[in-house]
């Protein structure tokens, strides 16, 4: 009997179902946030929609108990897989005091949680790349086995920090994996007005590391290349650059109207490859996602999201004077 794709990758049925569940939770949470935004309850949303497969596939290939991650603003799938809860994400969406990312100081999507080794992120794009390289340098210096994993958009790969960070990692053969989530747009600017190379992965050669372009709608394919990259890293063979090709299914953010710069048809077309649907099909074909499991999953997720929303909505804001806290270490 031929092995199924996930079995080829040594993934159990439970694991792939868990992957699917994480993708679905990310998607549903994201959808809820849009509803909350459109009903005036939260000021801002920035979406993972269309990138869940890449995010979750990658995260599952990492050591989620030891590796460090430097996610970018769309990476809800990554941080969920690394232990951030729906409740915590909702606290962030509502900017409440108990938001573990920033205590309500940063916009949603600015992830950070030390206990889950999620480096704190900012808004200026690509600054996280050298940070992840620095963590990988620490791993090498301290002779630890973990790797660091950093993501960014394809537009952001044009920033100097991408170049400087990857070259540093290449010279010192550091255990860092960079994944560019190429969703074809940087706000309104399409790939070909943004990036001069055919593929983002083409840039790897300039940093002495392998570069792989992978279908970002296929969580198993992403899982595989990230796994390989992680193995290389822990073998001391240095960094890798992965390009996961996806598509941004929503507008750039809740402040953006994408109808001014892209055709509706293009978006419709892309939705045919929506990983949340195609991966579900794969799991159904393989009788992992049966109707009853699906029902249970959906119920569970709805419940999680409802509870998270209620909890976060009713949670307290930070006190006004908390503005003054934590500029420097307080002893």
């Amino acid at each position: 009997m031929t092995k199924k794709r996930h079995q080829e990758l040594d993934l159990t049925d439970e694991q792939v179902l868990e992957m699917y569940k994480t993708m679905l939770l990310a998607r549903k949470l994201d959808e809820r946030m849009w509803l909350l935004n459109r009903s005036g309850k939260i000021p801002f949303v920035i979406s993972c929609q269309g990138q869940e497969a890449a995010q979750v596939g990658a995260a599952f290939a990492l050591n989620r108990k030891e590796d460090y991650i430097a996610p970018y603003y769309r990476d809800m799938g990554v941080v969920l897989a690394f232990g951030m809860t729906a409740k915590e994400l909702m606290l962030s969406a509502f900017a409440k005091a108990d938001d573990p990312n920033s205590g309500g100081r940063q916009m949603p999507g600015h992830f950070g949680q030390k206990k889950n080794r999620i480096l704190s992120g900012s808004s200026p794009v690509t600054t996280q790349v050298p940070h992840a390289v620095g963590v990988a340098l620490a791993a090498k210096m301290e002779k630890k086995d973990f790797v660091s994993f950093v993501t960014l958009g394809e537009g952001s790969s044009n920033q100097g920090d991408f170049h400087e960070g990857l070259n540093f990692a290449g010279v010192h053969k550091l255990p860092v994996i960079t994944m560019v989530e190429n969703n074809k747009y940087a706000i309104s600017v399409p790939y070909d007005r943004q990036v001069a190379s055919n593929n983002i992965a083409d840039r790897a050669q300039g940093y002495g590391m392998p570069g792989v372009t992978v279908d970002g709608n296929d969580p198993l394919a992403v899982y595989q290349v990230i796994k390989e990259a992680r193995d290389r890293a822990t073998r001391g063979e240095g960094p890798s650059l992965i390009e996961a090709v996806c598509y941004r299914l929503t507008a750039h953010s809740s402040d953006d109207d994408d109808r001014t710069y892209r055709e509706k048809g293009e978006v419709e077309e892309a939705k045919k490859n929506d990983s949340v649907i195609t991966f579900a099909s794969y799991l159904k074909e393989n009788e992992i996602l049966t109707d009853s499991v699906e029902q249970r999953l959906n119920d569970e997720i709805t419940k999680i999201i409802n509870e998270a929303t209620d909890f976060a909505e009713n949670a307290a804001y930070a006190q006004a004077e908390d503005t003054l806290k934590y500029v420097y270490e307080e002893k």
Partner: protein, 327 residues
Amino acid sequence: MPVMSYIQAVTTALREEMQRDKKVFILGEDVGKKGGVFRATDGLYETFGEARVLDTPLAESAIAGVGIGAAMYGMRPVAEMQFADFIMPAVNQIISEAAKMRYRSNNDWSVPMTIRAPYGGGVHGALYHSQSVEAIFANQPGLKIVMPSTPYDVKGLLKAAIRDNDPVLFFEHKRAYRLLKGEVPEDDYVLPIGKADVKREGEDITVITYGLCVHFALQAAEKLAEDGINAHILDLRTIYPLDQEAIIEAAKKTGKVLLITEDNKEGSIIGEVAAIIAEHCLFDLDAPINRLAGPDVPSMPYAPTMEKYFMMNPDKVEKAMRDLAEY
């Protein structure tokens, strides 16, 4: 005279200057098809085409650096930084290159470039979409920094910036974009860069400020006037290099000075304003030089409680003005 919003004044100035001079062009992120994330370049792509309204890759140092090169050739680039907070990657190009070009080449080369950027808070933008960044640049000879407060000033000063033969940073308050409206003449006027402007005459206290805070001060002044306190309000308009003469004159006029900025206090540009006054007219003062500013924390938080605590507003300004008047 037509009434327009602050951002419409930006767009109008850009359009008029592009019509007037073929060397003027725009470059930045999402300035083309989308017309800018705030829509400051709305419609320009349609009128002037892709070549003169250029969507650049997401790379601020390149936006500034490519602009500098084009300006050295003789073009008049108007670069947009999507948010002032994202000017940081371009600091080397701005400070090491644009600011020093004329000087280092002994007047051989110059950089007639304008860099526009929306700054300021009160828009739920959190730490990185709320900052006042002018202090970073306000000690770099060779640069000029303009921060207009009204649609009228926006049009006249942006046109002046584009025609200026040296690099100008032009910071626009993003909350002012749609909040502020005012009369703007249709004709082709320019206002002088480097000159402050008295926005209100008064005898009791002097308020010196710039940008959105000018409006908070004007609003507060109306309230104070009801109680017979007359505030003199000087709008700096150009915050580097400062208009020393106007500052000294305004300070002397009432002898009681309040300086206001939305930026954090320590190291903000109103420190320099205070120093100028303390250097030149100390003995004309009847009260310590008061400063009203944001708290010394990195930037404005997202949560409404904390954003409000940080952000300047008419109430805070009114209170400070009353306190000074009563001194």
